[in-house]
């Protein structure tokens, strides 16, 4: 197993681990803030996964500098990077709206524990 293989498995492994940690937090934690932190961790894992998919062996950034016009074969895939740029912005928007809802809930119930907010039960 060479180094590239190890790097690849490391990147995929880390990102899958991050996604699972985030899901665990979302499913088991009681505090609304912790649930939002979990959502952010899932976001980070997915971004790392997408960037990892674009990686090639000995890849360079997909940016042309003078004299590197022939380096196309060594450049990493720019498409996942552009998609992750979009995903980061959307993730930011989701987190901002979620936090504002939490502020509103806290103002109403004076607690962040989801078990104590009885209106959520049905």
């Amino acid at each position: 197993m060479d180094t590239t293989e190890l790097i690849r498995i490391g990147v995929y492994g880390t990102s899958i681990l991050l996604i699972l940690i985030g899901l665990y937090a979302v499913l088991t934690k009681r505090s609304l803030i912790k649930i939002i932190i979990g959502l952010s961790i899932i976001d980070g894992g997915i971004h790392l996964l997408l960037i990892g998919i674009g990686y090639i062996k000995d890849g360079t950034a997909p940016i042309f500098s003078p004299g590197s016009e022939n380096a196309v074969a060594r450049m990493v895939d720019p498409v996942p990077q552009a998609l992750v740029l979009t995903a980061i912005v959307i993730g930011f928007g989701v987190t901002a709206v979620a936090l504002s809802l939490v502020i509103r809930l806290y103002r109403h119930h004076n607690t962040l524990k989801i078990d104590e907010i009885k209106n959520l039960k049905w």
Partner: protein, 231 residues
């Protein structure tokens, strides 16, 4: 008990994720030249933009970016309307604490440098890593620093909305100008110049600068709303 069920479920999910991405066949599929080669070739030969990611975000997928900017705008609007409060409901509890003199002077000293860095990042978005979203975020962090350091530092929401609206209208206008001159929305209709020049890439730098202004105004407004939340 509940935690055990969750861990079991996550283990199954993780197993399926792992066998999908660690499969050698996926690896072989991934390394083929597909849309990647198309974008890399077209960026140099047609658009003369050094940064391929910027070319994809602003030109090839420019309409997608317009939608993305709209999502950011909607998030800022939603946040404002969720946190909206009538004046007589406002209490005096606040998250802002008085800052020390060191923070105050440091913030004053470093704020112009942060703004300059943000402007540099979005002006050079088509040449170096960075662009409108990143530069706008850097400028917003400068305003965040000022808001933390000075409790009475105030920003006019009206000016922010004017900047935001003008930038948004400018984006759509350049899209429509492409419609009139080239045939499709966001078509590159200006001269493309020489690769790696500051004035290269046609409409790409102009649109990214507009995006930078829009993102900076939106994020600053968002931070201002949340920091001045009183309960």
């Amino acid at each position: 008990m509940k935690k055990a069920i969750v861990i079991l479920m996550l283990a199954v999910f993780g197993y399926f994720l792992a066998i999908t991405f660690l499969d050698p066949q996926f690896e072989a599929e991934r390394n083929r030249d597909g849309v990647k080669k198309f974008y890399l070739d077209k960026t140099v030969s047609e658009l003369k933009t050094a940064n391929t990611v910027t070319a994809i975000v602003v030109n090839f997928r420019g309409f997608d970016t317009l939608g993305e900017v709209t999502v950011l705008f909607l998030a800022a609007t939603a946040l404002g309307s969720i946190l909206f409060k009538k004046r007589h409901h406002i209490g005096d509890r606040t998250v802002l604490l008085p800052a020390s003199a060191i923070v105050g002077s440091g913030a004053k000293l470093i704020f112009p440098a942060i703004t300059l860095l943000g402007v540099y990042v979005f002006v050079h978005g088509h040449l170096t890593p960075g662009g409108g979203f990143q530069g706008g975020t850097i400028i917003a962090t400068g305003f965040l620093l000022m808001l933390i350091a000075y409790r009475d530092f105030s920003i006019s929401h009206n000016i922010l909305s004017v900047i935001e609206s003008l930038a948004g209208i400018g984006f759509v206008t350049f899209g429509l100008l492409g419609f009139m001159n080239g045939g499709t929305f966001l078509q590159n209709f200006l001269g493309t110049g020489v690769l790696n020049d500051l004035l290269s890439g046609g409409v790409i730098p102009i649109i990214y600068i507009l995006v930078g202004f829009k993102v900076a105004a939106e994020l600053t407004g968002l931070i201002y709303t949340v920091l001045h939340e009183k309960g």
